[in-house]
């Protein structure tokens, strides 16, 4: 096991931030800590790194109890949301820092830093200062710096949070490929479910300081443990007292077993997808929406003001609203 976190409790003053949190991270995996802000995910990551001390509980890294170890003895690589670049050092010196602290021979440092800068595509920039780099380049430099010390685990705190949408997408895919190359046990924090689903092997959903669910992206998306996880992992709508994914709704022009009648308010065409916004006519007058293809809209001739009959598709996972 790469990281074993057992029964962590942590409060800031009177506010509990982590409550009895236990998480297992398999060696070599890429795990996302996903949750809303204030859910305790960054604190958990900092506890694993040793930057925060838990009130109770243990952290075991690669079989060694690290709970009482200071950050510099844990051999973790940590990447901060705002890069924490050493502003007064060149890119080369930033990446070389951990190796220089470890008093490695000069030519070994030069070789290793060269390899890492190549890995993160910054070999052209080794003489620049962080202020002369873009956000994405700075974050890649921070990643190379963390990898330079050959850490047991790599921890990333909202690594793409400060970047604009386009760069985020590129770096996500790049991080996934990088992980496939270096295979270091990696944990990253994110509040973006799309990012977690796209990049991670395992997702740990944290909210209110508690672990809500752990599983593969497919499991947490398709078999959410509770309505909270279901809402957080993707779009949901409510039909007949059930939470359903909008793409798991069947529409028909005639009543079928288990259907609920609805009046269409709006038909929003988003390219290939179409959003059908409607009002349920089951006495509740609830608003609901379905995500369908253009083909369905055309074959059923769905238009605002028309009536449809809706039900969750038989294969869909739905949860009772509580």
């Amino acid at each position: 096991m790469g990281i074993e976190v057992r029964g962590i409790n942590k409060s800031f003053g009177a506010t509990p931030v982590l409550r009895d949190v236990s998480v297992d991270v398999a060696s070599g995996s890429l795990t996302a800590l996903l949750g809303p802000s204030g859910g305790g995910k960054s604190t958990l990551l900092r506890v694993i790194a040793g930057l925060e001390q838990p009130d109770t509980g243990t952290v075991v890294i690669s079989g060694t109890d690290a709970t009482r170890l200071s950050p510099q003895r844990r051999n973790v690589g940590f990447v901060f949301q705002h890069y924490a670049a050493f502003k007064h050092m060149t890119v080369f010196d930033n990446v070389a820092f951990g190796l220089q602290i470890r008093k490695r021979p000069k030519d070994e440092i030069r070789r290793r830093v060269g390899e890492l800068l190549e890995l993160v595509h910054l070999d052209q920039f080794h003489k620049r200062y962080p202020a002369q780099l873009s956000g994405g380049q700075r974050q890649r430099m921070a990643l190379a710096r963390a990898l330079a010390v050959e850490p047991e685990v790599l921890l990333l705190d909202e690594p793409f949070g400060a970047l604009d949408a386009q760069v985020r997408k590129e770096l996500r895919a790049w991080l996934r490929r990088l992980h496939d190359e270096v295979h270091v046990t990696t944990v990253f924090v994110t509040h973006d479910q799309e990012e977690a689903i796209e990049v991670a092997d395992t997702i740990v959903v944290l909210a209110g300081g508690e672990v809500k669910q752990t599983g593969s992206p497919h499991e947490v998306y398709d078999n959410p443990a509770d309505p909270f996880v279901m809402r957080f992992l993707g779009p949901v709508t409510e039909i007949d007292g059930q939470l359903v994914r909008p793409h798991d709704i069947e529409l028909s022009t005639t009543p079928e077993p288990g259907t609920t009648p609805a009046v269409i308010d709006r038909v929003v065409r988003l390219g290939f997808e179409v959003r059908i916004e409607m009002r349920l006519r089951d006495g509740s007058d609830h608003e609901a929406w379905a995500q369908v293809t253009r083909g369905i809209v055309e074959s059923l001739q769905l238009e605002p003001g028309g009536t449809v009959h809706v039900r969750p598709s038989p294969a869909a996972r739905s949860l009772a609203v509580t």
């Binding site: 973790v76 940590f78 901060f80 010390v149």
Partner: protein, 263 residues
């Protein structure tokens, strides 16, 4: 029209307040050429006053630098009960008159005070001697280094230090390799300010030094003493020297000021 009026007022004000007095001292000093100036400054008493001034100032700057870095880190990076009190205490010397500082030091370290008497019995004379003058100078220039560093430390945040820790650096290594380079310019600015203040200090040093000629006489005390004894050339020469040192320090601070965060 109004803006010319305002400019004229400002210039005339500064002319009478600053330019004329300082300019006159300079003119008086070099009235008979540079020879008398250098003669006046190379007298035994003047050289001794230079030496005392620099000894006191260098000690004060060294102590305030160490204390200033420590106090700034304490104020910015740590939270503890009494932190606001510490912040207020550090600023106190700006508000207290230097003469009061001098008297207060005599009350504690004077020969007839319990603590001062005890020190004297152990062979350490504070008042009327260099240690007392260093104490007085440290006191009046206490906040300068702290206040120069605090905003830069705050702006820098502790991310970089934490990153250094995760990369294997201990506290000292993180301090030396990350914190100090990060605050370098602000620290230099604070040190120069502190040096300028220490060189020019008069009131507190006048009280605790006893003004013993050729023993505890600093440059500022020397200027005052010569002036009272109608030795104007010596007084003017020393005053000009002090002014030149002050101006050079000021230029240094101007050069050092805008660097932080450039890169």
């Amino acid at each position: 029209m109004a803006k010319y009026g305002l400019r004229t007022v400002a210039l005339v004000y500064l002319l009478f307040l600053l330019v004329l007095p300082v300019g006159l001292i300079g003119w008086r000093t070099f009235e008979h050429g540079a020879g008398p100036f250098f003669d006046a400054l190379s007298s035994h008493s003047a050289l001794h006053a230079f030496q005392v001034t620099f000894t006191v100032a260098l000690w004060a700057v060294a102590l305030n630098t160490v204390f200033g870095i420590g106090a700034a880190i304490l104020l910015v990076r740590h939270s503890f009960p009494g932190k606001r009190l510490l912040g207020a205490l550090i600023d106190l010397p700006l508000a207290v008159s230097p003469v009061v500082v001098g008297l207060a030091l005599i009350l504690v370290y004077g020969r007839f005070a319990p603590f001062g008497g005890w020190l004297e019995n152990h062979g350490i004379q504070v008042i009327f001697s260099t240690p007392g003058m260093v104490l007085a100078t440290v006191f009046v220039s206490l906040p300068l280094v702290v206040r120069a560093i605090v905003p830069v430390l705050e702006e820098m945040g502790d991310d970089q230090e934490q990153a250094a820790h995760t990369l294997g650096a201990n506290r000292w290594q993180a301090f030396r390799r990350i914190t100090v380079p990060g605050i370098r310019s602000a620290l230099a600015y604070g040190i120069v300010l502190c040096l300028a203040r220490a060189l020019g200090e008069y009131g507190a040093v006048a009280v605790v030094s006893g003004r013993l000629v050729d023993q505890t006489q600093t440059l500022t005390l020397y200027v005052e003493e010569r002036f009272q004894n109608f030795e104007q050339p010596a007084a003017y020469a020393a005053a000009t020297a002090l002014a030149v040192i002050a101006i050079v320090s000021l230029l240094l601070t101007k050069l050092l000021r805008p660097k932080d965060g450039d890169r």
